[in-house]
Symmetry: C2
């Protein structure tokens, strides 16, 4: 089979750190072009300032990965779908739920593949955690997601703007794991969002979820953590404790600890190739819906100003 000719749109940190290596490591894909108004391209690969310039060129492209901030992703996705391309959406898949629903309808109509990616679901410990939990009675879940925003998102102003998710930008990774490993649907009970007095998005959140089996699920989400960082999900069951740490990479079970190689983005691109070859889409809105619910239902409190 011919490789899928793919273009990467938005050449920021995540594109260079994750997408380019995953694409070059997967024989299903050939990097055909890069697009970015502000960043340069790769040696020997056609580079364009805008997606429109790429579409007007003679460069053959079958698929695009959209790695831009979510606020501009819808327009780019529509242009790509109109041109008959398959579309890989970085997380979150859009700035609103309704635009992603609209995109999904459009992709179905055009018959191309739309993939709303959730990279943390491909962390090494997540699939075995899901399998282990499917046979257990779950009593309680705690999510502790505490990191230093200055270290992980230096100068990324868009995450603080309306449509950026603030601390839910990392927090949605935890929710993508949670909704994947829990056997019953999860919904939001109460939320308190802490917003810096000078910012439009939360820097911390305290959320109580539940699943339809009645399991309490608590989430402690904080971007003000200095010192040791935590990306942990701890699940108490009738057969003892399961712990996913390092964002899903390390799985601790009563029987011992499993550490495996990080395969998040390689896993995503393997999945994208499968979707394209099979003529299917994969758009799961559960994580973004829970975030929207937190904004809809959450109580807001004002906290100390944040300066980068």
């Amino acid at each position: 089979m011919d490789p899928i000719r793919i273009a990467v749109v938005g050449m920021g940190k995540i594109a260079r750190d994750q997408h380019l290596p995953a694409i070059s490591g997967n024989p299903n894909f050939n990097l055909a072009a890069t697009v970015s108004p502000n960043h340069g391209g790769e040696p020997g690969i056609p580079h364009f300032k805008t997606l429109d310039e790429l579409l007007e060129s003679s460069t053959g492209v079958d698929a695009v990965s959209l790695c831009t901030p979510p606020q501009v992703r819808y327009e780019l996705a529509v242009s790509a779908l109109r041109a008959g391309m398959h579309v890989f959406l970085e997380k979150p898949p859009g700035a609103t739920l309704s635009e992603v629903v609209a995109l999904t309808a459009r992709a179905d109509k055009v018959g191309t593949s739309l993939f709303a990616s959730w990279h943390s679901r491909f962390a090494a410990g997540v699939a075995p955690a899901r399998a282990w939990l499917s046979e257990r009675v779950i009593k309680d879940v705690k999510i502790i997601w505490r990191e230093d925003v200055r270290e992980w998102h230096p100068g990324q102003d868009w995450i603080w703007e309306p449509g950026g998710l603030g601390v839910f930008d990392p927090g949605i990774n935890a929710l993508s794991i949670l909704t994947h490993i829990m056997p019953s649907p999860v919904f939001l009970n109460t939320a308190t969002l802490s917003l810096p007095a000078n910012r439009a998005a939360p820097i911390a959140a305290d959320i109580q979820f539940r699943d339809t089996a009645g399991t309490p699920i608590h989430m402690d989400l904080d971007w003000r953590q200095v010192g040791p960082q935590s990306w942990d999900i701890i699940v108490e069951t009738d057969a003892g404790q399961l712990k996913l740490s390092n964002g899903g990479a390390v799985l601790s079970l009563p029987s011992g600890v499993e550490r495996n190689e990080d395969m998040e983005y390689p896993g995503l691109y393997a999945r994208f190739a499968t979707l394209i070859r099979g003529g299917r889409s994969d758009v799961d809105l559960d994580p973004l819906r829970l975030v929207a619910d937190a904004f809809l239902r959450g109580k807001r409190q004002s906290v100390e100003e944040f300066h980068d």
Copy 2:
């Protein structure tokens, strides 16, 4: 066919003004009980303080209408579905999207009917407006929804709490009409929410939507209107202007004005009976999803305190 024995839960203003008359006017239903911790019942009809008390009694009930504030609706719906009852949800169907998704899954499993009602869709002008627009090219839509909260929601503190929708409580009626009459999916572009300094929910909102055909849709939502009130949707098309006024009751077309009798709640109960008799559910989340998107993506501004 035997009438459906129905209980009304939450005997506030909307239950007395709309639900009881619609139920007594529909031969498919018999009012079997009422439930309310704070309000009294109807002469000759069994009355209970809580839904649990009704369920523990020997009163035969096939269906419930939940007319309580949305913040407590989920628990009541779960109890009713567990007891094998059909459930009618007043709008909005819940305090979060995820809880309604969870309810829908549960109703599907139990095999009972779940109906997320949007009463404005049954306003007299809405069905003919939808039919007329399906054959037109739509150029522009303006929603003007301006009312006096003191007149329409006197002392209803729950609408200002987190999980209450503020001005989106009436605004979601406009959105339920919009998403019903527009031929293409609608999504949110930008929103500005105005919150009184002493309240958790917006008193006004200015929103720009679009549909997938590119039509601009502007919404002006305000609870501070004194004097003449507006519940208007104005649609410019290639065949002239369509105007829905009085919340959908009056339809103005280039050919003239149609005024018909208000049949909103009778229409809802006719629909609910059809769903129950046919073993089906009807849960359309589009209006609530657009509201969640406004909370997710919207810019917030603080405005003058509101005192009832």
